[in-house]
Symmetry: C2
Subunit: 283 residues, 2 copies
Amino acid sequence: MTDISVAFQGEHGAYSELAAIEYFHRKVNTIPCHSFDDVFAQVSGGFSSFGIVPIENSLAGSIHRNYDLLLRHNLQILGEYHLRVSHCLLGLPGVRLEEIQFVHSHPQALAQCEASLNRLGLQPVVDIDTAGSARWLRDNPDKHSAALASHHAARVYGLQILLENMEDDQANYTRFIILGQKSSRRIEKKTAAYKTSIVFSLTNQPGILFKALSVFALRDIDLTKIESRPMPGHVWEYMFYIDFAGHASDPICQRAVDHLKELATSLRILGSYPRHQIDYQAV
Amino acid sequence: MTDISVAFQGEHGAYSELAAIEYFHRKVNTIPCHSFDDVFAQVSGGFSSFGIVPIENSLAGSIHRNYDLLLRHNLQILGEYHLRVSHCLLGLPGVRLEEIQFVHSHPQALAQCEASLNRLGLQPVVDIDTAGSARWLRDNPDKHSAALASHHAARVYGLQILLENMEDDQANYTRFIILGQKSSRRIEKKTAAYKTSIVFSLTNQPGILFKALSVFALRDIDLTKIESRPMPGHVWEYMFYIDFAGHASDPICQRAVDHLKELATSLRILGSYPRHQIDYQAV
């Protein structure tokens, strides 16, 4: 085993842990944390080498808490990973699908599988998270109950996969970011394409966002994401989070960021990291 | 009493009901609904004249569910209202502050008053909503318990206001929108300034958002809000929600929208309505 550790929110078997394992190819110790705040604190305090948190889901949108925590902590984004979120129906070993009556899981997972559950005539039971429902089933063996969680949770808690791909909309991806200290060794991946994440604030004047975006458009730099968040203590003023294609050390990107600094009241580069490109099967 | 009805999410005493009463100057029947979905369904089905839902909070950000519901229903935004969210500590009539040990409320309200509660040495107890915690206290009289809710909830449930302005950050405003059917009679207010809300989608190509914003910038039309949401069924493609200053029937705004239609793959005008301008006291 390695001494590299990755903090994640949830308990063993969580989708965040699965993303960490796939991103680092199993060569890490995964550290469960109670909250996203704890993940950031764990990495900031030097207790874990890295952290992994979800930042955006293709169905539900951005996870705003993590945008706010990025601003509050002085960490760097070292990488990104797109995880295909596929919910499995998990039962105790040996049970048959026909025996299942109740399905335990997190409300969002239950909602994402609503049509499947209705079709099978299964009754949803709300639990605190997906992995937690799998652990619950292991600890409270009941042949009429199933959990809705990942295939990874099935492995962790010794459960049987009764059905796969339970989600009604297969275009279900979560984008995770990998966090580290500014001094962290970079995680090198063979890739030509980089992405950079920045956060900046603008004064409230007509056309200011248009001007801000012009620093990228005039240099043909592709934006992959724009997100606005309320600015703490300023009613209806916003911080903007932008991801753009390219590395912050590329001269052209450097000039765009310098140009943006002329317009922005504050600006911070959150990190440049290899872009994770995958072929989406279900669009 | 009037036969005009306004659907809101929550139970009597909720902040949404308070916003409805302030917006309509009490001249309406307020109809409590279980969920935001029910508010939209109530108005779409013609069971209520109007609906009111929160769309954005100055601390917590946008309420995404309501952006998604705007897209799903063919309703019109007829107005907006900015409510100052001020949490009061409510006790049974006759109790003294010194007797209080426990404070019941919604997790977000408790979080917004964390420093105040710590200072007073009060223990938070999580409840399903603010108004619900006030009703609970009326129905389960306990002189050691208080609820954290609006002054309106105090009136509704006959409770005593022990302390006002419990929130740690006073820059706490929620923007509500007033919904009606396309055929609804407009709610006229004496105001010079209008605002228009639109939603549109763009193909994923470099600089496209910059081009989209140019239709406003080149005509000196001020944007007051921009929000992106994942497009259902399209991984990492977005719908954009924009609010701009002006009425959709103004020739200049009309030309901007026509120009945007040349770039957008879809576009819908959600409504033009009088702008609610208030002086923010605490910034």
